[in-house]
């Protein structure tokens, strides 16, 4: 175990490189969650479409993602995608994480869409609005609002999961920590430092998500 003074010394010395890595971690997370929301919405709509084959596709996707470890998915997608079309590293990593997040987000959205009162769809239809128009204008806005807290939680999970992008050469927090650690033969200090970065980020995000949850709960009254 490193001494406290050593730990703080290194913590301060490395702040620039870690802050840069933190930025990449956040970028990876934001991008992969945003793409994940698009993917998730897509598969959630397929799942509730009542069209058997689309439901099946959605089920298979969720099963594949939930049935395998993220690290396996990351390796397969990173090297697999490369074989098909070459996109820059950042986008390959983001896409791999997004496909993972997308499955969980599709479950969240499916839940909140189905949680919107059936009367809303009927009201829309009875006013002459089409199914798609009602979905877009009436159902989805309400579903997304309710999805905000669970999406916030998924964001926190995604942030932690992005650490696995280290293994496909993304210089995010964890990769920087282990690289510096092994270069300086001082793994433990750097691991503890990176743990602090994650803790601060997660604590901050948790605080925001809780606030959001309370705010939504109040305005729903």
């Amino acid at each position: 175990m490193p001494s406290f003074s050593h730990f703080f010394e290194v913590l301060i010395d490395t702040k620039d490189v870690f802050l840069k890595a933190m930025l990449l971690t956040l970028e990876l997370t934001v991008v992969s969650i945003l793409i994940g929301i698009v993917i998730g919405l897509f598969f959630a709509l397929m799942k509730i479409s009542k069209i058997k084959v689309l439901e099946l596709i959605s089920d298979v996707y969720v099963f594949l993602v939930r049935g395998t470890p993220l690290i396996v998915q990351i390796f397969i997608l990173y090297f697999g995608l490369s074989g098909i079309f070459l996109i820059p590293d950042f986008w390959a990593a983001s896409l791999a994480l997004a496909l993972h997040n997308g499955a969980y987000i599709s479950e969240i959205l499916r839940g909140t869409i189905q949680g919107v009162d059936k009367g809303q769809m009927e009201a829309g239809r009875s006013l002459g609005m089409t199914k798609v128009l009602t979905l877009r204008r009436i159902i989805l806005p309400q579903a997304f609002r309710r999805a905000l807290p669970p999406l916030g939680n998924q964001f926190i999970i995604g942030l932690k999961d992005s650490s696995l992008a280290a293994f496909i050469s993304m210089n995010e927090l964890f990769n920087v920590a282990t690289t510096l650690g092994s270069n300086n033969f001082d793994e433990m200090t750097y691991l503890l430092i990176v743990a602090v970065y994650y803790l601060v980020l997660v604590a901050l995000l948790t605080f925001i998500v809780n606030r959001l949850e309370k705010k939504l709960a109040i305005s729903d009254r």
Binding site: Q120, E122, R125, L127, G128, I138
Partner: protein, 247 residues
């Protein structure tokens, strides 16, 4: 001159699985008629109303709206629904939109009415239902009676020829029932064609042109209010009126 047939239903049947909910329903609603549909719970009143608006698909029989038989698999149901407004027991206002946005949503998005035009029309309607000061408020700030009046204004904004009401007052606290019934009465007086499912016998007696009594998926009896309430012909109707009036 004979009045125009707004709705004509012939031999309508509808089942949910094993459950035969509507049995050979025949019914005609003429222009400016107010028809009150009454009957005990589960008798099929809501289902009939929903069939008239094609929210529920009929199994057999025909539904003729303003002289034209509607084929749900071919016709553009959305176009027909524009003609037939509906008000629900639980209001079903859009909670993420203000009162005004609730009202202009369909005219603007479906009919393509200019937003300004729709807004001024909506304000007129709000005035009509006595809620001109609530335009920019969200539904969760309204009382049940106010919600239902907004729902009526929302339906009217599409300028329907027919209005369907499914127990519009039964989710309301008793002291709020009156304001909604008043609004409906005004609408009836203006000559709107209305089909109203209700348990408010006072309203039915005063406003309805015809009463239709349903039991177990069948229309048992129909008649003008005077005759229906004073001299019901069928035994089951007499039974029903006895228990209902007691409450």
């Amino acid at each position: 001159m004979e009045a125009k047939e707004m709705i004509k239903v012939n031999q309508l049947n509808k089942s949910f699985g094993e459950l035969h909910v509507l049995k050979n329903i025949d019914m005609t609603v003429y222009e400016s008629d107010v028809v009150c549909l009454i009957g005990s719970s589960g008798s099929g009143k809501s289902t009939l109303l929903r069939c008239l608006n094609f929210l529920e698909r009929k199994d057999s029989g025909s539904i003729i709206i303003e002289g034209k038989e509607v084929d749900p698999s071919n016709d553009d149901l959305n176009k027909i629904r524009e003609k037939v407004g509906m008000v629900f027991q639980h209001f079903n206002l859009f909670p993420h939109k203000t009162v005004l946005e609730n009202i202009i949503e369909a005219p603007v998005m479906v009919k393509g009415v200019d937003k300004k035009v729709a807004t001024s029309k909506a304000k007129e309607l709000l005035e009509k239902v006595g809620l001109e000061d609530k335009a920019d408020v969200f539904p969760n700030k309204l009382s049940g009676g106010q919600k239902q009046r907004v729902a009526i204004a929302r339906a009217l904004a599409m300028e329907p020829d027919i209005m369907l009401f499914d127990e519009p007052t039964s989710a309301l606290d008793p002291e709020l029932v009156g304001e909604v019934l008043t609004t409906m009465k005004e609408l009836a007086n203006e000559g709107m064609t209305m089909v109203v499912v209700t348990h408010e016998m006072g309203f039915a007696r005063e406003v309805a042109d015809w009463i239709v009594y349903m039991n177990d998926g069948e229309i048992i009896e129909r008649g003008d209010p005077e005759q229906f309430f004073e001299h019901p012909k069928e035994e089951r109707t007499q039974e029903f009126l006895k228990t209902t009036m007691l409450k």
